[in-house]
Assembly symmetry: C2
Homo-oligomer: 374 residues x 2
Amino acid sequence: MKKNYSLKNVGILGGGQLARMLVMAGHDLGLRMHVLSENEEDPAAQVTRHWYKGSVDNKKDLVSFLNEVNVATFESEFLDAKLLQEVSRQHQFQIFPRPYLMARLQDRLSQKQLLQKHELNSSSFLEWSPSTTWEDLQKLSKKAVVLKARRFGYDGNGTFILRNLKEYENFLAKNQNSPNGFIVEPFVDFKRELSLICARNKMGQFVHYPLAETLQKDARCFWVKGPVKHNLEKSFIKKCERFLHSINYVGVMGIEIFDCGKELLVNELAPRVHNTGHHSLDSMNYDQFTYHLMCLISADLPEPELVAPGFAMVNLLGENNKDPSWEIPEKAQIYWYGKEKNRPGRKMGHINSIANNPKSALSQALKALKEFSL
Amino acid sequence: MKKNYSLKNVGILGGGQLARMLVMAGHDLGLRMHVLSENEEDPAAQVTRHWYKGSVDNKKDLVSFLNEVNVATFESEFLDAKLLQEVSRQHQFQIFPRPYLMARLQDRLSQKQLLQKHELNSSSFLEWSPSTTWEDLQKLSKKAVVLKARRFGYDGNGTFILRNLKEYENFLAKNQNSPNGFIVEPFVDFKRELSLICARNKMGQFVHYPLAETLQKDARCFWVKGPVKHNLEKSFIKKCERFLHSINYVGVMGIEIFDCGKELLVNELAPRVHNTGHHSLDSMNYDQFTYHLMCLISADLPEPELVAPGFAMVNLLGENNKDPSWEIPEKAQIYWYGKEKNRPGRKMGHINSIANNPKSALSQALKALKEFSL
């Protein structure tokens, strides 16, 4: 049945670049895009007339914002999930992915337990407590272990790689009383990191992009290229699909993967559009932001198709506090997020490139990167 | 020299779909996009926080709007060009294309004279007056002549094809006292209509897309496909380039062309982004809206490149007054303009498609069109 999409009011909780790109994708679908964020200079606040000043973690702001929209989503899984669950239950708000899943996934411990329950391959783990000894940790790995903050970790923040007792003692001295706790994983000696962007709507339709390779630099996504192949990808993606069905997921999910050669391990799930999917703005028939919105408005999900045999994305990361400048590059598309201030490591924008193969696309994008002074 | 583009405030006079797509292209360049239009439900008013209520033909509104921006452009050449010239001179506002060119081009008579002066091939013409006789008209063509209103003609409005004295008498009865006057051209028996989208910046860099074929239906653009070839295209495009240099043009220009087989004739110039260039949102490395903005901010113009061997665009034209509905098509991109009301003939959006050749792209787009109830 054909639907009237243009009357839908869609709300985004948060005003960063992911929200901005969701808003812009929504415009092309004819949706009315609403944004709740604190600062009128936020990237997403610039790109719609329907911007509301407020905090995504404030009950009053949330309720009055959600009353304006038919359906809402978020750009970060680190919101007050309990509050979201409460207001959506009380007021029958439609929020996707569902807030109870946000609660499960925003805590690395419950996320790991969820992966384990649904038999999605991931590294072994244990819950850390101040009484955990180095010997306990060594049961996971004789080489090195990784301690990850259970909550609010991003871009390497809250992640500690420990190789010996001394490093563990240093960690303990600093983090003994960390309120959110940690989980411990063995250090995974991966060959490369991959990403899978998939989407599922309320009717249970599932689609996914081809696997992409991602390179981290200083624990931040630096570039993505693809498509890449892996001989286990078919069965792995099948498992991911079953997982999304099992948890009745609605929206785009970003799945970060360790490619260990003989196995693919889930590193982390992000219940939202994902930095490693930004390439889709140029490489695919439909980008991840559009797919996410299609899931929210219960549109049929068309099959994803590559526009070119190779794609790449490079993040434009701030390097200082000066105003950035650039020349428009020849073979790359610019997505500038309109952030007020530059600072080292800040994601200021990204560039996309397509070409006859992944390698050429990446080298075009890296060449284009030289046009930027960040 | 690298430039700081993200601090630029760009203003668009008008709030329709062309303004909307300019605004969205500006967002990706990191520009602050400002819109002046009368209705908060206008297509472009939806897609930026910087919307100003006002009339583009009101001096006070214009001046206060233009004071907010570094540079401005327009989505229609049918503004009060004299007023624009006056305020831009008085206040040193940067408006491109330049208002005096808008004045020359918005009048079909002075546009024809300009084409003639610069030896850009176009049909012969004469200025119509109430005393013009059918015999006068027959000097242009023994078959049929076309009378075109000198101003405010669009989508076939103000255009009359006359084949005999009786038709001319009917025309006279209705249009004797038309305040804006008409020009007369011979009816051109073209094989097909083509479009050339080109752009020139202040530094004199000139770029152009490949030629595209356009089909009109009920005097409105119905579809565009391309690229198409013509054995005269090289010399024709060279002439267009010389023309843009001669008039010191800044911005994108849409050139509508009659392909008469042995010659290419300019039908009409539009000093702005153009419906026949919408395909570029998916078919080219940089779309026409981005090029137009690059011209305004004096960015270097990268060479246009096709993303795929074939492209097509189909307009989504309203057919009734009901709310439109649709299924998301498989092989086409949707650009919905967010207009409040549907009505017959109204441009509600468009769809783009790319493929291995122009024909396949068009058939994909026409197939996708069936998913829409307009």
